[in-house]
Symmetry: D2
Subunit: 411 residues, 4 copies
């Protein structure tokens, strides 16, 4: 009889290495190690060999960077998503893609389950599993950190290292970092360790080495750099005159943002599982894209469309943060967002300087801004009759006058 198969989201770190081995033993199953290349860069080096050495029967390392940029990052940026006024959702948006590919592999391989190494306290477990539920309700999910038998077996790091050594799992002799991190094409997040104290200043000298994607504003060049972003229907399709696909855009923006100290955020946020936590993020390219996109919209988006879309950003962002990417309500919101972006086409010029993204001009072939109407000078088009404002104001004031009159009569 064929053995059970489990597809494991594998990073090569201590946790998922241990889990790989533990799953194999516990479930008497073939473990298929899967790593999504979503822009972790050097973290991917040597992964395949390591997974095989640790006991994987098969290894998938799939380059999903283009899909990540095109089908996940871009639609989310069209929505103007930002969680709790600060976070650009760099980790949140990656999880559904990883889950999607895991499910595809599980189906292709005839695996009974997928497994991941996310803890029971974080958002990632939710994101993985809600995505899987929305895509493949029949597939089981194993989350060892939520299983008491696993937690009992590995109450601390010491037991994990002992287990690794015992089973010949290669453990990187990394100096234990005082925080954990997650990296992809959109960002790096840092949390835990010294960061758990919200009064701790993560912008200082002490934390300098933590940041991998950007210099600090203080260390950025003294010379500003101009950048032009070309948009079509809400998506950035070129930089400085050069047409680029979404992946190309993100890579170039990351390089520029990182160079100029752009996109660091240090915040306390509310996890879906109920507690607050402190996170530090580097999102150099995403921050430029976010800012430039808003500026492109300001010139080309109808006022009420913007008002409507803006009033839904909190909802959209919360859905993404909480892991409801493949949920029908996200799709319904996305339909609205897509419609809202039809006219968001043109060019934005920004100046990058020591952490700042300074607006330096915006233009569009489909601009809705008409200086002839807005001008305080005589209007050559006569599209606007100042006298019209009288009626406009009077009718807007009518209900206020009635209310106010009633109120005064009843004082």
């Amino acid at each position: 009889m064929a053995k059970n198969k489990i597809v494991l989201a594998y990073s090569g770190g201590l946790d998922t290495s241990i889990i790989l081995k533990w799953l194999k033993e516990t479930y008497d199953a073939e473990i298929i190690a899967f790593t999504a290349d979503i822009g972790q860069k050097e973290e991917l080096d040597g992964l395949e060999a390591k997974a095989l050495a640790t006991g994987a029967s098969k290894v998938y390392i799939d380059d999903l960077r283009e899909e990540f940029a095109k089908d996940f990052i871009y639609p989310m940026f069209q929505a103007g998503a930002m969680y709790e006024g600060q976070y650009l959702l760099g980790t949140s948006i990656a999880r559904p893609l990883i889950a999607k590919r895991m499910v595809e592999i599980a189906r292709a391989e005839g695996a009974m389950a997928i497994a991941h190494g996310a803890t029971g306290k974080g958002n990632d477990q939710v994101r993985f599993e809600l995505a899987a539920a929305g895509l493949a309700p029949e597939i089981q999910v194993i989350a060892p950190w939520r299983l008491s038998e696993f937690r009992d077996r590995f109450p601390g790091r010491a037991e994990m290292i002992a287990y690794a050594e015992e089973h010949g799992i290669p453990v990187t002799a990394s100096a234990a970092k005082s925080y954990s991190m997650d990296r992809n094409l959109l960002h790096i997040s840092y949390e835990s360790g010294v960061l758990e104290d919200p009064w701790y200043d993560a912008s200082g000298e002490e934390s300098k080495d933590m940041y991998l994607l950007s210099v600090s504003p203080e260390d950025a060049p003294d010379q500003p750099e101009y950048l032009e972003l070309e948009f079509e229907q809400g998506n950035c399709v070129g930089l400085n005159g050069q047409r680029l696909d979404p992946l190309g855009v993100m890579e170039k923006l990351n390089e520029l943002g990182g160079k100029h100290g752009i996109g660091r955020v240090d915040m306390v946020e509310n996890r879906f599982v109920g507690m607050k936590s402190r996170g530090v993020y580097e999102t150099p390219g995403g921050t430029i894209l976010f800012t430039a996109h808003r500026k492109m919209e300001s010139l080309t988006m109808d006022r009420e469309v913007m008002n409507l879309r803006d009033s839904l950003i909190t909802r959209y962002s919360t859905l993404v943060y909480n892991g409801f990417w493949f949920a029908p309500e996200r799709l319904a919101l996305q339909a609205l967002v897509t419609e809202s972006q039809k006219n968001v086409t043109g060019t934005v010029r920004v100046k990058l300087y020591k952490g700042n993204i300074i607006g330096a001009g915006v233009k569009s072939p489909v601009s809705l801004y008409n200086p002839d109407i807005a001008t305080m000078e005589a209007d050559p088009t006569e599209a606007y009759d100042q006298g019209d404002a009288t009626g406009f104001i009077r009718l807007n004031a009518l209900r206020l006058k009635v209310s106010s009159g009633v109120e005064q009569n009843n004082k």
Copy 2:
């Protein structure tokens, strides 16, 4: 018989000087000149004499700065208001206060009308008049720029200057600026003139002299400066350990923000009267306050309260922008906002550096963040059982699985 009286919102500029005289003649009325001191600084110098010289029968120059900070700016910042993702509403929030005082004066003086010099194309006319309607429906408003007889009399600047000279109105021999500006405690706005071209780069050398409240990031000190803001129930009540009233806070924050190149925004926005326009803003202190307030909330505000309040920011901001400050729906929203701020108490530390407001720590006696719960380490409080997450995720996934199953059956 007593003469009619008209209370005029008077700035001392060419427009309201002309209007003062023109109203006096046209309506055969006593003109009471009123200027609200809401932080225009030197613009107020010599105003009283000028108004009397121009024909005013009486002059009010009222210091409303404290009221402006306490009853207008502060409640609005509790709401997290930002118009179209960029504008901190510096002009919008001042208009209702000016209108309120005009109405009070009009009632005290027995005036039949109030008048203002705002044009028929802008938002300010609406803000003045909706505020007046909500406070004193019986009082008439005269807006000369919307009257064809006035526009016919003054088709251009030349006619205005001629009229001024003819009537002995002192005209400041100011070098004609290539833009117009509006200043108060919260900000300066710039628009018109060269700014009407949205592709024009207002961050460059050419525009350097325009900015009065802040240096550019490039010209800001190379040395960062730390600042601690003390909050109580959503309001900033002290800086760097010193207790300050709202006016004191705003003045100090303006000084610090201006010094460090903070708070410039250059945007295209949608006016209530229907067209897009381009505005440039300097809001040094407000930008610090806005950022720090969000950080204070991140530590002390319940997740769902924040979600609810955030989902209403677009609506609240639009109300303020459009001039509905004294409208009952703004009061209803404010009641929600006030309730939402009950626990927003504590200290925020930021680092000011060349346009950046860098979070550098947050703490509170009523913090809702509990590192013992959030930690990925063992939880000493045992407030959180990782196994609980399994049920949490399963029930959240249930409807997704059902939907997905139905969908797959019907493919």
Copy 3:
């Protein structure tokens, strides 16, 4: 040189007859009379001859009923639109269609303007003109009732009748009704006259003759009648097993609803132009459709999709009421609505009885309701583990406990 042409929305009543003649004289133009057949029934009899007799150079009477049902009523009912909790928008939804056809005719005929007989106090003027603006910004609109020269010419009904007699305009010797009405496929609205007193009871004997589409509940049959409605993707496609197009559905539902005393609403509402007014509506078929559609959704719509859509009903309804049908924000909302209806397919059974639409069963091939999961009995599918609820509740309670604990510590 060719004469100017004006397309007039013509009803055959006194007002538009007078206007036809007056426009012709005043603008020295050819008047093209246009009447949209949107279900007014007998009101259309003899219209063409009358228009020509009154001076129209050409007459269009276009049957738009199918388009009205399919492209206007149906999408609006998918949205669950109801204005101010009571009004099914029967008049509001018709105006954009009429304007659309007027604009088409104007373009085809090379007319310079369109004209209508709506007053300056109502919503219809706004709806006509905003629709025209959104479709054909170049076309001028003439609204005689807003022109002082027209109002001065016709200060009262006497002058209108005199003018009609003078110009040989046939005036129907109708007993002056004590209210005005507007009829189409979706409803009849009544307002003005005796109805202006909101304390007036329009459900009594005295008003009995006013209602044309329905009997009163008291006069409805003593015998209930069952009805099955078939839905596909949110649209009703059949009744009692018979497949029908949207027009057929509306006509049959009107007949059934009217017979059973269904769909009368008597309300005070807020007009877009700023005042409250009192209206009485008969919407027999629409009320059945509205109720049945909600019941269909209850079985087939995902919870969060419904929550999202429902939270936007106020906005959608206000847009339709205010005349923003052809506005980009309505299109964006509609995209969301369309997406939300994908699974709204199945059968609803209702019992019609003396004003009541009583739910009597609902079923669907794509039902999201699974009694095996919901049952309080043992669950044969084991899709639901009651123990999961513990974790679900605990994590939902976590933030409440933290807040509550902080509050108690600070009492």
Copy 4:
């Protein structure tokens, strides 16, 4: 040493009787039986004796009806709450009150825990426990139906009856009903059993005996009955000229509604725990109150306040349904609602007839409806100039024209 104490929400039914005994044995604790009188009527007869006979050490039967009406039902009806367009939240709103009193008793008695008999599949467990979490985070909750040891002990009804007989628990020899029910001052809900089939017609002869609060519309009197409701600030304070407290209002409305066949709803709804379920509700008085309240608002509530409040009904209703009554976000929303009701004062007249609540007039000393403004006749107050509408429409149309123009240029 003192024994542990557990406060049990006790109904006297088989489930909570078994649970009483089982808790006592399992936890070796004193069981304090608590029953909230929230209007269950005869269900309360003999409860105290029964609880003591079953082993309770102490029994609380507290009359909470007045508090229920005043502090729970009334604020919720001010909000216009209705879940998923149909359900008036009769069960949902009672649970937090019960939990509040349980917690008070637990604190007064020094009990370590509270317990309830709600199942792991329903909403009530969530409502009880979230309320308790928000009020008393330190108190433990025991939910036997979610404990596998309890479910294993009582896999079916047979085991429960055997256990009851064995322990001398009095079991009512009730004919097993084919559904379960929950009754209070606001409603009775029915679910389970035959109702689990959503195609089952619960309006027919077969279900006739199920309904306890109302006759069917068919069986209601042939004679309509007029009713006047007096409102002050959104609360009903009197009926037919007689001043009544909230409890008195609810009781009288229940009587009248029940007599006239009002307030039955049969629906499929979405539970918070993730599945759809079918419920049938009788809410005779609440339905009258809901309808009349809306009519009172229509005359006295500002348009935009209504729009704002209405746009939040979905959110408010979902909070109540899901059990977040004592959550800070509900309090924030309630602050807005309270503010919105300030002017909702006056009299509503309705006609009750066979399931219908027919509006028959509304009046108010603070009415915002001014027929002189709304009338199509000449306006004696001249508060409204029809010409104003031109400017109003033009400025509202401006952005539509600009958008439309851009679109046409780019076709």
